[in-house]
Symmetry: C2
DNA sequence: CCTTGTTCTGAACGCATGTTCAGTTAATCT
DNA sequence: AGATTAACTGAACATGCGTTCAGAACAAGG
């Protein structure tokens, strides 16, 4: 046997990526085999290599695609005036974006160490750009006396961790909507950087 | 060849655990082989099985030991009066404890999914006990009007994530001491649960 | 010194891994 | 309809995996 009925790269290609994303998120990159991905896609393992040069490139491509989307979406967001509203926009964007694609978020935090060094450097640089946006907001707010944040670098780490943590417990269909969650987190963030 | 000079279980045993902890933290459980552990310990792979029935038990033993220590140490901590001081004690304890053993903390968050289901249940229950202590503090503080935290469950998740995130960036010998870091985090936590 | 028990080696087991490739079939183009 | 290209199969490759075990070398106790 060989090429199967209805087979097409426009279908199989995305399917490979979706399946890999799901399995990597579920079991971890190292614990997932190419054969396992192939089985769930519905092809033989050799066929996967029409869509990725190797397993490592598949992981990198998923992470890179995710980071590109993150940065592009953030760039396209409306940019309110004033540090307070800007911070609120960041908080709500981050929570919404994260909860909309939990698997991609998950592997982009968990599988960094499974990236080859040169791939890691690329993703890490993109993450720094994104997190730098938050720190810039804090710095501006501090300079304008809108916030009380002596160490903006550290505060940005603290807030990012807090916001990203939402993915560890939130499940769609729970008792809170994404908007309600964002409200509560924004309230805590707002107070944490206030003069208090 | 067989038993080597100076070999003793009091030496090799801990060495196996330390090495496994370090390698699991560095590369992930699934990516580390028993042969790799053996090589760094300085024995042949078969010798490892004098110290663990299998690889899974080694991971579980490390996580279990860590959680036992966490709970025992927290129980032994002084328990100040009043929600405010109690929260401060928790924050400072958590940061200090985490920064003192970054590798154990790291794998206890990253390798949960590599635990067999029955092992996972044990660790998860212990973690709930620990995180429950934070939520209890928040609940008491809310009841006593010391805090303004409408959703104590969610707030406990948010704070735990924020505090645990310190391990992702803190490196010993950096520009801030552990005490200084704890001061800054406590300031943010205090404000985030205040009436603001 | 000799025995007993501990600790380790070296080799093997069966199986899974990532990757390659010649050959085959389906889809597409002329 | 025939030729060409795209998509996939099935099998193979070398390597690595977790685990087991008989036997050898060491340490400890009498």
């Amino acid at each position: 046997m060989a090429r199967t009925q209805g087979s097409h790269s426009d279908i199989t290609g995305p399917k490979v990526r979706e399946t890999a994303l799901r399995l990597f998120a579920q079991h971890g990159y190292a614990a997932v085999s190419m054969r396992q991905i192939a089985r769930e896609v519905g092809v033989q393992v050799g066929a996967l290599y029409n869509y990725t040069p190797d397993k490592q490139a598949l992981l990198f491509s998923l992470l890179k695609g995710h980071m590109d989307e993150l940065l592009a979406t953030w760039e396209a967001e409306p940019r309110p005036d004033g540090p307070r509203d800007r911070l609120e926009a960041f908080v709500r964007f981050h929570i919404r974006f994260n909860l909309d694609r939990p698997e991609a978020i998950f592997i982009s935090y968990m599988e960094l160490r499974n990236l080859a060094p040169e791939n890691f450097a690329v993703i890490e640089a993109q993450r720094k750009v994104y997190e730098g946006a938050l720190e810039a907001i804090l710095r501006d707010g501090q300079a304008a006396d809108a916030f009380s944040v002596p160490d903006t670098r550290l505060a940005s780490y603290a807030l990012i961790a807090m916001l990203t943590g939402v993915n560890t417990w939130y499940r769609a269909g729970g008792r809170l909507s994404i908007e309600e969650v964002a409200d509560i987190y924004w309230d805590m963030v707002r107070k944490s950087v206030s003069a208090g």
